[in-house]
């Protein structure tokens, strides 16, 4: 492969402004990782409007930093306070907190940091090689291929998401319906616009994301009673012993691979891959009874996997323009806001942006590794900021922010409506993620399908005669049928349910 653009990408990252924003990004990321409730998707959604004023590459470097920075931050509170700051760090609690109680908090954090760094870096290297390869097929990706891909994406989102599958399907359907609002792009007929010109182009992605994730999370968190912050355990011995390293090196390797592949899959991502990595470590271990009582592999595996996944989930977004999970959907929105359409052309048309963002992750991971240990105490203090102070400020930033994107009061109304919807969804146990993803993919699916049928002159068998769309559709069928086969088989074997991971995630392991 041609290395020149890769090296140019490093030149882009090393510009002082970009370094600064990378630093800001990872610090903010660690911060929200520490704060329970406010996840990276919410934070990025809230910060979307500020990207308008800055260079696209700088903006995305910062937002990406928030995403993988949050994976580091979430670990800290999981280990020290048994309080996962982030969904992807939930499993870290099991062994991380146990280690902390044995006085090995430092070791747990150290291993987590090293694992995160390794996972992130391995994933970036793979990304660097894989992304241009995918992009080289770019011109072969026509409407039929996008149709198949969107179909597969929606299916995976609905079946693979954490939590109740039925609820995920319901949320995804609502997302698909919302995607139909607006002037139809093929006949210019108004659909569900009620004569309102604000709806002529459909619902805008940004206010929906900011409402569902930003405002919705804030409202939901206000309801949670916050426990008084426990005094964090003293942190010492950050550097893991040689034995710890030897014990966890396998876990780090497997975590990288699991994280990388689950991150690419639509619907996968950090949370799922950390659950999967934990399950794999436990299953492989000769002494599974140590898990939950301070097994170092139980920290290393998931922490490596969630960082590897955070990185690899950029692949489908940057090469195909398909967001793999909710956070990527929000970054997708950010790219649109700064005037960049993510898609197969990105690598060749905007090499500086592409490689700038990818390479910034190397730098960001190094920054995180350096910062994460000494700053532990500081971040834990942030937990003492009362929600009563934090919440109104965040709401204000959200509402002002969304107005500045399109200078539209209507968008403020949308944020509030979707904020309330997001709150109600969380309260009723619905994950807003599938809704947002289906909303993004829904437009892609409908347009792709209708374009394809125009091209095929109405002949649907055309989908199967093209190699890429045909293959994707076969994968679609396999994924659609597999859960039934699997559940039949497991019923026959009467496999006992695993205590840690929820039943839906097992199928992926």
């Amino acid at each position: 492969m041609d290395l020149a653009p890769v090296l140019d990408g490093f030149a882009v990252v090393l510009e002082p402004t970009n370094l600064l924003y990378c630093l800001i990004g990872v610090v903010v990321g660690m911060l929200v990782g520490v704060l329970p409730g406010l996840g990276p998707a919410a934070t990025i959604a809230i910060l979307l409007p500020i990207t308008i004023g800055i260079e696209p590459v700088t903006a995305i470097i910062m937002l990406a930093g928030i995403f993988y920075g949050a994976q580091y931050g979430g670990t800290i509170t999981s280990v020290l306070l048994k309080l996962p700051g982030e969904a992807s760090s939930v499993v870290t609690v099991f062994d991380g907190y146990a280690m902390a109680r044995q006085g090995r908090a430092g070791t747990a954090l150290g291993i987590a940091a090293i694992g995160s760094f390794a996972g992130g870096t391995i994933s970036i290297v793979a990304l660097s090689f894989l992304a241009p390869l995918v992009a080289s097929f770019a011109l072969d990706f026509g409407p039929p291929e996008y149709t198949a891909l969107a179909l597969l994406g929606i299916l995976l989102v609905a079946t693979v998401s954490s939590g109740s599958r039925l609820k995920a399907v319901v949320a995804a359907c609502v997302g698909l319906l919302l995607a139909t609002v607006g002037r139809d792009g093929f006949t210019a007929t108004e659909r569900f616009t009620f004569g309102n010109l604000n709806l002529a182009d459909g619902l805008d992605f940004v206010p929906i994301a900011m409402g569902l994730f930003g405002l919705g999370e804030i409202l939901y968190n206000l309801e949670q009673r916050h426990n008084a912050t426990q005094a964090p355990t003293k942190v010492a011995n950050v550097w893991p012993s040689r034995q710890d390293l030897r014990q966890s090196s396998g876990a780090i390797g497997r975590g990288s691979v699991i994280g990388f592949f689950l991150g690419i899959l639509p619907g996968g991502g950090a949370t799922l891959s950390s659950l999967a990595a934990y399950a794999v470590e436990k299953r492989r271990s000769k002494t599974p009874e140590r898990f939950g009582k301070g097994a170092v592999e139980g920290v290393a595996g998931p922490e490596t996997a969630n960082n590897a996944a955070a990185t690899s989930s950029f692949i489908p977004l940057l090469t195909l323009g398909i967001p793999a999970n909710a956070t990527m959907a929000v970054i997708f929105g950010a790219l649109l806001v700064v005037g960049v359409t993510p898609g197969p052309q990105l690598v060749t048309e905007e090499p500086e942006l592409f490689w700038g963002v990818v390479n910034s992750m190397y730098i960001g991971n190094i920054l995180l590794l350096i910062m994460s240990i000494p700053l532990v105490g500081l971040f834990v203090k942030i937990l003492r900021v009362r929600p009563a102070i934090l919440a109104p400020i965040t709401v204000l930033i959200t509402l002002i922010g969304v107005y500045t994107v399109n200078n539209s009061v209507f968008d403020i109304v949308l944020v509030i409506v979707f904020g309330v919807l997001g709150y109600l969804m969380k309260k009723a146990g619905f994950d807003p993620g599938p809704l947002l993803l289906a909303f993004v993919l829904g437009a892609l699916l409908e347009d792709g399908l209708r374009r394809s049928l125009l091209i095929f002159d109405g002949d649907a068998t055309g989908f199967f005669t093209r190699p890429i769309s045909g293959t994707l559709l076969v994968v679609f069928l396999v994924v659609a049928v597999y859960p039934f086969v699997a559940s039949l088989r497991s019923r026959r074997r009467q496999e006992p349910a695993q205590d840690t991971s929820d039943p839906n995630t097992k199928e992926l392991v």
């Binding site: 026509g142 409407p143 093929f186 108004e190 898609g343």
Partner: protein
């Protein structure tokens, strides 16, 4: 000064009202001396609305013109993007502003003479409800194909012996209208496949997903020059200076000039002297090197004519297109 005149119906304004009353400037006949000491723009900033996203051609033109205008008038001129419905949202907002010259908009010709053919009654704004300050420039459409398709002229397309597919940059755009008109007149069996804007359309043509596509010249020129795309015809009235070797559709025997055009609009009822100050300001802006460079970089043909000439051209375009579309039974909306 900023007298607050409510919007007045266009029909009334043409008649010979006294100068004091005819503040609903009927653009073209301003001729007389402007009260140069009248305080426009005062110290107040001017807002220029843009109905498209930041970064697109319309936005870039607006920003370059705004810079020149700001230097000339000595007040800040800020560009405010209000994207949606091909600019109809921004136009709606403009119509509700005071006609004091402090709110302007860069208006796309397609919204005036193509969108009305595609959308339902009353969904596109009427240019009769606005004052027009000045024309800006023309943007040409070019019909392109991938070299691998083997097509190089309209005759080739007609002789393909199968229905062809053509990519458009969206429904109700010049890209769609130009091709619909061409294929209807050339009696070619063709299916429109609408994409979201120029870049996806180009990708589809390059990848052979569709046989041909019509995009704005500035978007395709790099690929044309590098040989990645073959130009078939342009839809300009006469050959654009940027693509001298490609025939126009008119030369090829089809009467389908379709161009994107842009002009500066104001709410109806801008006082004559304010209008004159604005026009002088824009004229100075057009002379700046930065603005001319922008035209050149984006392959735009200047059309810095009087507002009333724009009104005539655009109205005529709409009537012509409506007539041809009806004659050939073309339905831009529910496309066959």
């Amino acid at each position: 000064m900023t007298t607050n005149h409510r919007a007045r119906r266009w029909a009334l304004s043409g008649a010979g009202l006294t100068l004091a009353l005819s503040l609903t400037a009927c653009g073209g006949n301003v001729g007389g001396g402007s009260d140069s000491d009248e305080e426009f723009p005062g110290g107040d900033p001017i807002t220029m609305l843009v109905g498209q996203d930041p970064g697109g051609s319309t936005d870039l033109i607006a920003r370059a013109a705004a810079d020149g205008l700001s230097d000339e008038l000595g007040v800040p001129v800020t560009v405010e993007n209000r994207p949606g419905a091909n600019g109809a949202l921004a136009a709606q907002q403009l119509a509700g502003e005071d006609p004091d010259g402090h709110t302007l908009m860069v208006y796309n010709g397609s919204l005036a003479y193509i969108t009305p053919l595609a959308v339902g009654e009353g969904e596109a704004p009427d240019i009769a409800d606005f004052d027009i300050v000045t024309g800006l420039s023309l943007d040409d459409y070019v019909l392109v194909t991938a070299p691998g398709s083997g097509f190089s002229s309209v005759e080739d397309l007609a002789a393909a012996g199968r229905p062809i597919t053509f990519g458009t940059t969206g429904v109700g755009t010049g890209s769609q209208l130009s091709q619909e008109l061409l294929f209807a007149q050339a009696d070619i069996d063709a299916t429109a496949v609408p994409f979201d804007g120029g870049s996806p359309t180009l990708t589809a043509v390059l990848g052979g997903q569709v046989d041909v596509g019509s995009v704005q010249l500035g978007e395709a020129i790099e690929q044309i020059e590098s040989g990645g795309l073959t130009p078939i015809v342009t839809f300009a009235e006469e050959r654009p200076s940027y693509l001298p070797d490609t025939p126009t559709a008119v030369e090829a025997g089809y009467d389908v000039p379709v161009q994107q055009s842009r002009a500066v609009f104001a709410p109806q009822g801008v006082p004559d002297d304010v209008m004159q100050t604005l026009r002088d300001g824009f004229e100075a802006a057009f002379e700046t090197e930065a603005y001319q460079q922008l035209n050149e970089d984006n392959l735009l043909t200047p059309l810095e004519v009087d507002g009333e000439e724009i009104r005539e051209r655009w109205t005529e375009n709409l009537d012509n297109y409506r007539a041809v579309v009806e004659e050939y039974g073309i339905d831009l909306g529910g496309d066959a």
